[in-house]
Subunit: 121 residues, 2 copies
DNA sequence: CCTCTAACTAGTAATGATTACTATTTAATT
DNA sequence: AATTAAATAGTAATCATTACTAGTTAGAGG
């Protein structure tokens, strides 16, 4: 992976933001540094950085992917407004009630390489 | 919510499938019962059924929403082929290694109504 | 340094999942 | 049975994302 000005700016934006930006939000931020950066470049790099495990992608529960720094934390997602709230201090015993947010459901998603894909390596 | 033939068929398909169908997959199944059912009807009802908490939506990690019955379970999602595997017996102590699948990451997503949205009620 | 080339970029067009729209039909209440 | 709000089929539109193309650049090897 080559190190380009565009890629570095994008990684920087994600690493310094707590806003769970979507691709267009990253694009808007990036234009402040590189005014003629292309939206396609933003999408391509977000995907490349995610594949390289340098950033995380979070689905907002509605219709869009949002991007997030790698610092270990979990998420609370509001099913009404689709706001994403970071959780740093989640103990399993508190899954049912997280602070003042009404938890209706929780999902534990394991991500990795399935057996079949491992065989193909 | 009115009870229609279309809605009942769609709910039935989800409740009797272990395939994590996407909207188009549900559409194809539904057409076996109602040949001229409209794709828009499928989308509208999937969303309505999800809002009514009768079915679940799962993001496949790539680009599509898939629908799932409400039976309590968790998911393993392959980051390579985006296969979704049901997990019924997840203990927290085994999060790091789930059967023969290589778990690279896990996400705990709490879903509910955030403080601000609660105030608006 | 200089050359070379694979990887990258900007800009634009295309794709594909999802939503919106419209005229018609239907569930279910009075 | 009459009424009507909600639902439907079919189609058009939207919008997030990806693909394409011609030109540019990072960085490896001489």
């Amino acid at each position: 992976m080559k190190s380009t000005k565009q890629r570095n700016v994008i990684l920087d934006i994600i690493n310094n933001s707590y806003d769970h930006l979507d691709a267009y939000g990253v694009y808007e931020e990036a234009r402040k540094k590189i005014p003629n950066i292309s939206l396609g470049t933003v999408y391509r790099n977000l995907k490349a950085l995610e594949d390289a495990n340098l950033i995380d992608a979070v689905f907002d529960g509605a219709d869009k992917l949002r991007y997030d720094r790698k610092t270990w934390h979990q998420h609370f997602i509001c099913t009404r407004c689709h706001k994403i709230i970071d959780i740093y201090d989640l103990g399993f015993e508190q899954i049912d009630a997280y602070k003042n947010n009404k938890v209706m459901n929780y999902k534990i998603i394991l991500e990795g390489i399935c057996e079949e894909c491992q065989k193909e390596e």
